[in-house]
Each structure stands twice: as C-alpha cells, then as structure tokens.
C-alpha cells in the first residue's frame, strides 16, 4: 500500500530508552510519591509541624510546665499574663516583670507591672518533682530556679485562675489529657471502624446490608443531645479515670462510622481493580490479596480520616467538659480549663482564661489541614 514501508521487526527489540523518564521520579515508590505530593502542600506541612508540637507537649507536659498545675495560691488569683522578655535593653536576659498586687476600692485584687523589679527566669530550672519515662525529675525547660518559690517570686506566663493556679502549666497538662482522650478514641474507632468496614465490604450481602443500615441509623442520631445525655448519665461520684474512659467511649461513638464507610468504599472499589483480579489469577490467597494488595492502598485514607476524627473528638471533649458534663475537676483538660471561663463577667475580668480556647482552635485547624493534605496527596484525583 505504501512505498518504502519501514521494517519494524527489529525495532521491537529496542530496549526502553533512558531518556524516557526523569531520573528523579523513576525509582520512587508510591509511598515516596505520596510524601512528595504532601510536602508540596505548604499549609499541610505547617499543620503537621504544629500537630507534632502538640504531641511533644503530651509527652513533656511536666517538663514544659513552670509551676505545679495543682498548686493553689489564693493570694495570686487572676494574675494577668507575664510575658517572657528575652532582652533587658540590648542585653540578653530572660526575665519577667514583677507584678505588684494591691486591692482597689471594691476590694478586688489589681496587679501593677513593675519592670524595674525583674524576676529572673532560667533555662533548665529546678521546680516541682514529676515522673517521665519512669524517672523522677525536677528539671523544667525554664522557670524560677527554686522549688520552694514564693508566690511573689513565681512566674505566671499566661496568668492564673480564680484559685491562683498557673494557667500555663495547667494548659500543658490539659493538652496531655485532651489529646490522650482523642488518641484513645481514635484507637477505638479505628478498630471498630476498620473491622466493620472490612467485614461489610468483604462479606457483602446481608452482613453488609445490616452494617450499612446501622451506620445510617447512627449517623441520623443528633450528636450533641446524645453526647450530653450519655455524659450526664454518668454518676457524679465516678473516679477521674473511670470518667476519662467513659467520655472517651462517648466521643468515639460516632467517629467509627466515617472510617467504616471509607474502608468499605475503598475495599469495594479496590475489588474491581484489575490488579486485584491479576493477583487472584496469579493464585494468591485471600489473605495475601487483602494484606499485600488492598490494605496498603488505603493506609493513607485511614490516616486522613483518623486525623479529621481526632479534631472532632477534641472539640467534643472540650464542649462536654465546658458544660460540666464531661471531665470534671480535678482532671485538667481543655474543657475543664474553659469551664472556669463559663461566665462572661469572669471572662471580662480575666480574658486570659480563654487562652485554652486558642489552643483548641489551633490544634483543630492544624488537624484539619493535615488531614486534608494527606487525603489530597493519597488520592490526587479526589475520592
């Protein structure tokens, strides 16, 4: 048909040319590719750093604290925050300004900042004793280098509450508890959600139908009244630990449905993929197909869903405890800290009591951005 038809037989033998790919991309695994896509997501990266900082607080809360969070100092109630100063003039010198307290005509305590009187702040100062990794320590990142410091000389970086307790140190503790609740809740919902999702997708039919309908029913129950109702039903005399676990279970009550849905959806989609059929045809057994072929493809989706769930759980705990229905003093969490700021008049008097709220917002935002980033990176075509 065509004059000068080429002979292509030998061209088949031509091997893949080096120039076909960029050198950087070629040997990367899917995990590395996801990581690379994720790193390009600036906001998600920043959010990840913030989340990592929060988790370091979980581990090192006592080390980061300056005062014993439980210490009551009636004489120092509602101290305003003392900002940490790094310089005295141009000379590096870590200190805060001393606050001088007096009473006004309504006999309320008022504090006046006197920067002529410095309170020296030291790195790795000695303070109250605490346990970390089984060791009893008394060193703190910074503080006044005196375990028996008097109220006059103590520092209150974020001020104090009505009982004169140091808000900064309490916030470190509160971060620990609130995040632990979230993490435990994630763990519970992860187990329940992935199990039910996997069972639902794997067996299909009646079991699938049953689980799917249950999920629909759970999702149609309004969260807040149910949370509140359950939390209120816990006897007031429960111990702090018992209440902790009860509240954890309550906040994870709804979180598993989303995970189950994601796992089932991914499972069903994956079952249609040719590479799964290829594994069946190759003779692979069920276990290998599920664990070697399918599960690795939804790790990142599970992580993304869990990250978003964690944010939801932190908010739930905070709200419940704020209303006095979740954790209760003496437990220290974001919610119980904000519980002291329930009243507008109190807030007007001591606005710094809302600072735990800023922590909650920053944490929740960071978790949301991070979760979104993971989801986008895992699935560039949208899910």
């Amino acid at each position: 048909m065509v004059a000068g038809a080429q002979s292509g037989a030998e061209s088949d033998a031509q091997l893949v040319g080096e120039s076909d790919f960029e050198a950087e991309v070629e040997v990367m695994s899917q995990r590395q590719l996801i990581w690379r896509r994720f790193r390009r997501h600036r906001l998600a990266m920043a959010a990840t750093v913030i989340v990592a900082l929060f988790y370091s607080i979980v581990v090192f809360s006592d080390f980061l604290a300056t005062n014993d969070p439980e210490d009551i100092e009636a004489a120092r109630q509602y101290t305003p925050p003392q900002w940490l100063r790094l310089f005295d003039g141009f000379k590096p010198d870590l200190h805060v300004c001393r606050l001088v307290g007096s009473r006004d005509e309504f006999l309320r305590k008022v504090y006046v900042k006197d920067c002529d009187q410095k309170v020296d702040v030291q790195i790795f100062a000695r303070g109250y004793e605490y346990k970390l990794f089984g060791l009893t320590l008394d060193r703190h990142l910074f503080g006044v280098n005196d375990p028996e410091v008097t109220a006059e000389d103590a520092i209150f970086l974020l001020g104090t509450d009505v009982q004169g307790r140091d808000l900064y140190s309490r916030l470190m503790r509160g971060t620990r508890l609130s995040l632990l609740i979230g993490l435990t809740g994630i763990f519970i919902s992860l187990i329940v959600g992935t199990m039910l999702g996997a069972v639902s997708g794997f067996y299909g039919g009646f079991v699938d139908n049953l689980i799917q309908r249950s999920i629909e029913i759970v999702r149609s129950i309004p969260t807040i009244p149910l949370y509140l109702g359950l939390a209120a039903a816990f006897p007031a005399d429960w111990s702090v630990e018992r209440r902790f676990f009860a509240i954890t279970i309550v906040v994870s009550l709804f979180a598993w449905t989303e995970l189950a849905r994601v796992v089932r959806g991914r499972y069903l989609a994956m079952r249609q993929e040719d590479f799964v059929t290829a594994a069946i045809v190759a003779g692979a057994n069920q276990r290998r197909i599920i664990f070697r072929h399918m599960l690795p493809s939804f790790y990142s989706h599970i992580i993304a869903a869990s990250t978003l769930n964690l944010a939801f759980m932190v908010i739930s705990e905070t709200t419940l405890s704020f209303l006095g229905l979740g954790l209760q003093p003496p437990a220290i969490s974001y919610g119980t800290l904000l519980f002291t700021a329930q009243n507008v008049q109190t807030v007007a008097l001591a606005p710094w009591l809302l600072i735990p709220g800023i922590f909650v917002v920053v944490l929740v935002l960071a978790l949301n951005f991070m979760g979104d980033g993971i989801r986008d990176a895992a699935d560039p075509y949208g899910s």
Partner: protein
C-alpha cells in the same frame, strides 16, 4: 446445547473445551436486596480452543466476551456449564467444578493479560514484586532464582532487567502492557487469556504489543484466548474467531471465512461496519438498524431478530442452536443455509 466442537481429527487437540457456559449476574434491589432480575451476560455458549492457536472472542460492548474469559479463569463464578481443561499430564478436568482452593494449582497453567495497563499493575509494588508474584504464591524458586527469572522475563518482553526495582508509574502504557505480559508468562502457562490487551494503548504502540504476543506464541508454544472489540486486530492475530451477540455465539470461523463470507447476518453487519482502510474502498455501508438488545431483558427467539433484515416468524420464537453448516462452519441462524451474505 451440546455441540461437538472439539473436532479436527482427534479430540485431544483441544486445550480447553467450554460447554454450555452460563454466567448470570443478579440485579438486586430493595431493602432486602431481593433479586429482581438477571443480566444474562453469558447465555449458554460452547466453543473449544486448540493447542497452539489463537481463538478470539469478538463482539460489541456488553456482548459477554470479557465475562466469558473471566469465567473461564474463575475470576467470576460461572453459573452453569463445563470448562474442560486438558492439563499438562494429559488429564481432562472440569474447572467449573473446582473450589477456588482446588483451582489454585491450575492457575499455573493459565494466566491473564488485562486491558488497562494502568489499573492492572499494583502501583504500590515494584516491577520485580509484580512479575514475581505468581512465582511467589506458587512457591517456585528461591528469592535469587526468582530474581533471575524476572530478569529473564523482562528481556523476553524487551525491557531492561535493570528496571525491575522501579514502580509502574515510571513506565509508559506500552511498557506497562509488556510488564503485564511478563507477569503472565512467569509461571510458564500454556493458555493465556488476553482481555482487550491493546485497546488501552496508543495506535502507534499497538503493533509492538501484538507483534510481541505473536512472537511469544511461536517461541513458547502458547495458546491464546484473545478478547477484543477491534475486528482489525482480531483479524490479524487469530486463527479462529467466535462472534458473540448479547451473551450468545452468532458464529465461529476462521477470520477469512467470517470476513469474506459470513453466514450470520450479524457477522455480516459487523464486518460491514468496520471502516475501510483506504478511501477508494468507501462504499455504501450496511447500516444496522436499531439498538443492541438489553441482556437483562432480551427479546424472545433469536436475540438478533429485531434488527435482522432476514428475520422470519420462526426467528421471533425459536432460539437458533449453534450448528455445523453444510460447509463445516458453526452458525446459530435459522436461515444460515438459505441466505447469501457478502461484506461489500
């Protein structure tokens, strides 16, 4: 429909004998997921594949050709029928009767090549892991032996062995299809089911893959079941062709027979619809009226009768069996021997 299909002298020549294969998919609806109907994807078909040949299944989308291939290799559970496979030891075994666990040893002898070169390779595994998987699951060789085998297979499909630690996303569509072929060859199968292996590829790459498949067949003595909707490709690669329409076989024959002197009106229409390769051959096309029948609700009698210009009252009620016509071809048409068909 027990058609005696394994002929050409001694029956031993057929590697695979499909008899009365049926695959229905239930349509489930409602709260209790009741079955409210069935999609008759494959509706009682019989054919055989001879050792060393390429048998193609052709037809339009939804005609059941892919389902047939997947039922044979038990990626789907066949609803009914026999799939008689002649094993290496010369035994005949009905694959349709085996449980999935019993099926596993036979998977070494039949492998599959897929259409989509993107979704058929696990993006999370590198090329070595992908190609060596059939070896691994059948417990063949040590890890270094498997590595040697993968290197050899890569050379066989004309890819560089050095690339075995790379991931699928680094390769082009044609190269991925070669990787898929290497995986299928890993366990030295005798039968390869190729499900639209070139339709996902650019036209300039298709010939590479087809040539490779034909070379491998010659070198390794492979038997192919080739599924495609592209009649030109089918014509090029096949020894025999099975034409399917709505889950049933219309006609079986060599490419030349079907393309030059079709017996079934549907075959004729199909062949006539294929664009001609040169503008000087432009002709008045035999344009088929109407729409393809719905496999969930097919017409009575011959499924093709509503579109067939030769349909009689008999065609409306009676299902035509697949029978051997006077000149030794298989056609399922009541009027096969009366009508004269030509493709242009």
């Amino acid at each position: 429909m027990a058609v005696e299909t394994s002929e050409n002298g001694n029956g031993s020549a057929s590697l695979l004998d499909v008899r009365g294969l049926v695959k229905y998919f239930p349509i489930k609806r409602g709260f209790l997921r009741r079955t409210v109907g069935t999609v008759k994807a494959v509706d009682d078909i019989s054919f055989d594949i001879r050792e060393g040949e390429t048998l193609s299944l052709v037809g339009e989308s939804g005609c059941g050709k892919s389902t047939t291939a997947r039922s044979i290799i038990r990626a789907y559970e066949p609803t009914a029928g026999e799939i008689i496979f002649k094993t290496e030891d010369g035994d005949s075994i009905d694959l349709a009767q085996l449980s999935l666990v019993e099926m596993r040893p036979f998977r070494r002898q039949m492998q599959m090549i897929f259409q989509d070169p993107f979704s058929s390779l696990n993006p999370r595994m590198n090329i070595y892991e992908i190609i060596s998987e059939p070896l691994l699951v059948h417990g063949i060789g040590s890890s270094s032996e498997r590595e040697d085998r993968v290197a050899e297979l890569l050379r066989v499909v004309r890819l560089r062995p050095e690339y075995m630690r790379r991931y699928p996303h680094a390769f082009s569509g044609g190269q991925r299809q070669r990787i898929g072929i290497a995986r299928a060859l890993a366990v030295n199968p005798r039968l390869i089911l190729a499900d639209e292996p070139v339709s996902g590829l650019d036209v300039s790459v298709q010939a590479q893959v087809i040539n490779l498949m034909m070379d491998l067949q010659d070198e390794l003595g492979l038997t192919y079941l080739f599924v495609s909707h592209d009649l030109s490709v089918v014509k090029q690669i096949s020894n025999r062709v099975v034409v399917m329409y709505v889950g049933r076989i219309a006609e079986i024959g060599t490419p030349e027979e079907l393309f030059d002197s079709p017996k079934h009106p549907y075959t004729a229409a199909l062949m006539s619809s294929v664009p001609k390769p040169h503008p000087s051959q432009r002709t008045k096309r035999y344009v088929l009226e109407g729409e393809v029948a719905n496999p969930a609700n097919p017409p009575t009698g011959c499924y093709f009768h509503p579109r067939c210009p030769f349909a009689t009252d008999q065609c409306k009620v009676e299902v035509p069996p697949l029978v051997k016509s006077k000149d030794g071809r298989y056609v399922s048409c009541h009027r096969a021997d009366e009508i004269e068909l030509t493709v242009n």
